[in-house]
Amino acid sequence: MGSEIMIDWAHAGPSVLAAFLASLVEFVEALTVVLAVGAIRGWRPALAGAGLALLTLAILVIALGPALARIPLATVQLVVGTLLLLFGLRWLRKAILRAAGIIPLHDETAAYAAETDLLAHSPRHFLAGWDTIAVAASFKIVMLEGIEVVFIVIAIGAVSGLLVPAGIGAGAALLVVIALGIALHRPLARIPENTLKFVVGVLLSAFGAFWVGEGVGLAWPGADWSILALIVAFLALALAMVALCRSRGIDLERLT
């Protein structure tokens, strides 16, 4: 009984954390564009586009989540694990390069300025009283960032039977971003986005490696607890890479 609870927490803790942090990053990026649409073209099309996208995403989750249960577990582990690896290592690679100063950090304030400028100079086309370009801009960004959230939630939740905790993590992130957006009415530029991406990259890479290993029939030492060891190992590797790149004198000033 005790060991079952321990095994559940070995999965559930990192799953909820990964879903929350990854979703937080994605929703912050979506909020920047939705705020820009709202400020320049009005809140009605901004909220309608975002709402429509969230509805479409909810339908996707309801349709795709249970469908995964019908595929053999080893196949799901291998395919989802590989996709998680590609997704996680991509984030981790970029976060390492950003942390080492090799590529510039993502700037939400600059992204907001670029989006407001684009929207201010875009023509207005109305269909049944709706500003179609504004609705489409809001819909597109929430769909794009939301699909990433859906993938993460399904990938880390469905394989381990923790779809609900992972969904709760993503839902909590959505509520946090909505609350901050309503309270501040400006992009969340002070959220340490690269640090979050760094942590999420580590978590997703660890989950991906674990599921690939399980999918091909390997035996991880320590069974499910090896997820935590993989997280520590990927984190140590990533921090060492940042230090190595910095120590070699590779910085942004030298590039410009």
Binding site: L89, G213, G217, P221
Partner: protein, 72 residues
């Protein structure tokens, strides 16, 4: 039709940033799936080898990207 290609491109870009990283990871996973089960080595060590390969791929890719960027 254009929006379908745009959506597909966006979907692919979720997983693909640097093509060589994707190719290396897929090749290593394929090798693990096809060759590892046939090797006469303890399965615990093969799991450790799977991680070691991924660590090596990430390290090589980051160092190569850093060198490439600093040369520009």
């Amino acid at each position: 039709m254009k929006w379908i290609f745009a959506a597909a491109r966006e979907l692919v870009s979720l997983f693909v940033d640097d093509g060589s990283l994707v190719v290396a990871v897929l090749a290593w996973v394929a090798l693990a799936a096809l060759a590892f089960p046939a090797l006469p080595i303890d399965r615990d060590w093969l799991a450790v080898a799977l991680f070691a390969g991924l660590a090596l791929i990430l390290t090589e890719n980051v160092l190569r990207a850093a060198r490439r960027k600093t040369r520009r």
